[in-house]
Symmetry: C2
Subunit: 410 residues, 2 copies
């Protein structure tokens, strides 16, 4: 009788001719959550479950790791996410409790290459990231660098890691590496990327880099991590370990694994090239409007009163012609509009076709080859730190943190 199921029981699930095994976690409204042996959780009708045994899994041993004081100091700032997660081996649930000793226990190799300080900033699923937390994050990183950290690792959920890395890139100028790292698969899965990503992040944090980057698996193998500029990176796959990709330019370099040899391209900003500087104001009333055929201009009313709007237009940077009058009105009322392209690759150019020229006439700024997400956080920062709209418009056209590549000459 499956009514007697207890958390931790081993169950067999039979559904639509498909059979699988896993650990029973809990039931809500008739739907049971089962942790499969693959590590994934699935939801199935409780009726489909048969108990086949009790959980024999024990808590993993926690070993205190002594840190060597002659090693360089890395600060780990944690925001939550899969890489900072601890698995409850009885329930299979993933939690994100985190102390320095947790991450050192999860990735023992770290203690051989650096000393670590840990800052638990928050503990959220990264889809709940907000501009307010970005500000706290930038300040925490700033304070750690000021206190002597030779490199920073930010552990972050992968869902919005690229947005956060871009946001910090505008708020903070750094002389040392600030390395965002995450994990696509939790530590209890055989294919987990948490150890390799964590080790490579440490390698990058100790390297001669001097900017904000994302370090994640560079291929489907376990041979290297790619180093991506915080303002040029995007999560391009829901589940692959090499989901993060640099868009529209080259990666900054690589960290080999397990040797942790860091190779940097000539374009990477070097350690010490920039002085530490924090300017963390953000204008939160900014949004992305993703255009689609048939979209009503009335939809724009949802962003009425916003200070800034990123348009993710079609092709070279277009919206339906019927958007132009509404954009003109909102622009006159003080909203700054920046055009980007839902193509993601390539440069916006609103001077080729009539629609583009009319959009420029309505006050829209061309977002060059910025990613829509990066343009959003840049606009938040620019509007938060400009004296007037003209200065804001001017700043949006300038490359502030490697977010736009140089336009080729006419």
């Amino acid at each position: 009788m499956n009514e007697k199921l207890e958390t931790g029981d081993i169950v067999r699930c039979t559904l639509k001719g498909c059979t699988c095994e896993g650990t029973y976690i809990a039931t809500r409204e008739g739907m049971a959550t089962v942790k499969l042996t693959s590590g994934y959780n699935i939801g199935v009708p409780q009726d489909a479950l048969t108990k086949t045994g009790s959980s024999e899994m024990a808590e993993p041993q926690i070993t205190e790791i002594r840190q060597k004081s002659d090693l360089p100091l890395i600060s780990i700032v944690s925001t939550g996410g899969t890489i900072a997660s601890k698995i409850d081996y009885r329930t299979g649930a993933v939690t994100s409790q985190f102390r320095a000793s947790d991450i050192l226990n999860a990735i023992p190799g770290l203690a051989t290459i650096a000393q670590f300080r840990a800052v638990q900033l928050c503990n959220i699923l990264s889809e709940n990231m907000t501009p307010a937390i970005w500000q706290q994050l930038a300040r925490a990183i700033h304070d750690e660098i000021k206190a002597g950290a030779q490199g920073i690792i930010v552990t972050h959920g992968t869902d919005t890691m690229a947005y956060s890395a871009a946001a910090v890139s505008f708020m903070l100028k750094t002389p040392v590496p600030v390395v965002f790292v995450g994990s696509q698969r939790s530590a209890d899965r055989p294919s987990s990327d948490n150890v390799m990503n964590g080790m490579c992040a440490a390698g990058a944090a100790l390297s001669t880099l001097g900017e904000v980057v994302v370090v994640m698996h560079g291929s489907t193998s376990d041979d290297f991590c790619a180093i991506h500029r915080g303002t040029r990176v995007r999560k391009m796959h829901t589940s692959r370990r090499d989901a993060f990709q640099t868009i529209g330019t080259e990666t900054l370099g690589t960290v080999s694994y397990p040797a942790l040899e860091v190779t940097l391209n000539s374009g990477a900003v070097r350690r010490g090239a920039t002085e530490l500087f924090l300017k963390e104001k953000l204008e939160e009333k900014c949004g992305i409007v993703w255009y689609y055929p048939g979209m009503s201009p009335d939809t724009l009313s949802a962003w009425n009163g916003y200070k800034g709007i990123i348009l993710a237009g079609t092709g070279l940077g277009h919206s339906g012609t019927d958007f132009i009058a509404r954009i003109k009105e909102m622009h006159a009322a003080g909203t700054v509009f920046v055009m980007t392209s839902q193509c993601l690759n390539g440069r916006v150019c609103d001077r080729v076709y009539d629609t583009g020229r009319d959009l420029l006439g309505a006050g829209v700024i061309e977002g060059e080859d910025m990613l829509p997400e990066v343009a959003l956080v840049k606009l938040m920062w620019v509007l938060g730190n400009s004296k007037n709209p003209d200065e804001a418009r001017e700043l949006m056209k300038q490359d502030l943190a490697g977010e736009m590549t140089r336009r080729s000459r006419v």
Copy 2:
């Protein structure tokens, strides 16, 4: 004196130390439009222009091309866009007037391989495409096939071509190839892709294919075009000729150039495999909501009363937790929600993390590995043709036109 500039004059433009030459087109509010020798138009202050000569360019010769009646019949349905454009060689302006003889004159090679019928459906910039025009388009294609066309070419602006190809894929079942083709660069530019794309489209239209596809440059060279399934293709670059890419699966095949040899993969649906069938109803009150960190749930009110919403969530398919209550309300009021991922690649899975499970609990349907744009037009079609919401939900989970790939077994 540049005040005396006339349309067609050759001018030199000097601006910020940069010099370029081109053809003067017109001036509006002090800003002159100049067609550069590269083919691009730029806007510059009229003051920056010096006249250096008069246009010597003449109208191109129009030659009547006799069609051979023993060749197979292709119908060309034109919606406008760069490929169907005629250049006014005096002003450099691009217009989209179109008759069969126009396209045959522009691409003379066509007349050697087929006879052509021409249907001018509309003449729009594709950012102005609407669901209502998709319906006319599907009907026009249907009628041409019924009238005996052995293949269809749809000329279309590239901005929204992928949306339109997907829309027609759901509305029309076809026994013959329906080939969408466009041009990233207009016919007056040396790098124009209109001839090669047009020839390869004809090659595909005469092939053993039997589905709706997009045919565009397959590489940066002029050696082949790729054949993309209409429900798996996306414009991934603002300006490159090989901007169109199949996402998350393989292309259906290639058309070599200039040989026009068509190679099809085993997965491509073959000519005659499907009977002609049109079901062109669409529910237009559908939209895409692109989530970003800090997005207010209030933004959703812009889509109040909509029948369907595609969420482009983060990662495996998430939004901020504070969206869940609002989604639940709107779902209760009759809005169908489908989750897709802004990663574009990979499958949505809302059973791994809490946020996902709560979204499912609020009524959200997992969009598997559908592209957000494709999920939008599918939802329009499904809601337009279902007897009730339950049937609509069921249809959204089924593969109707190759828009989702098979889930790998647990």
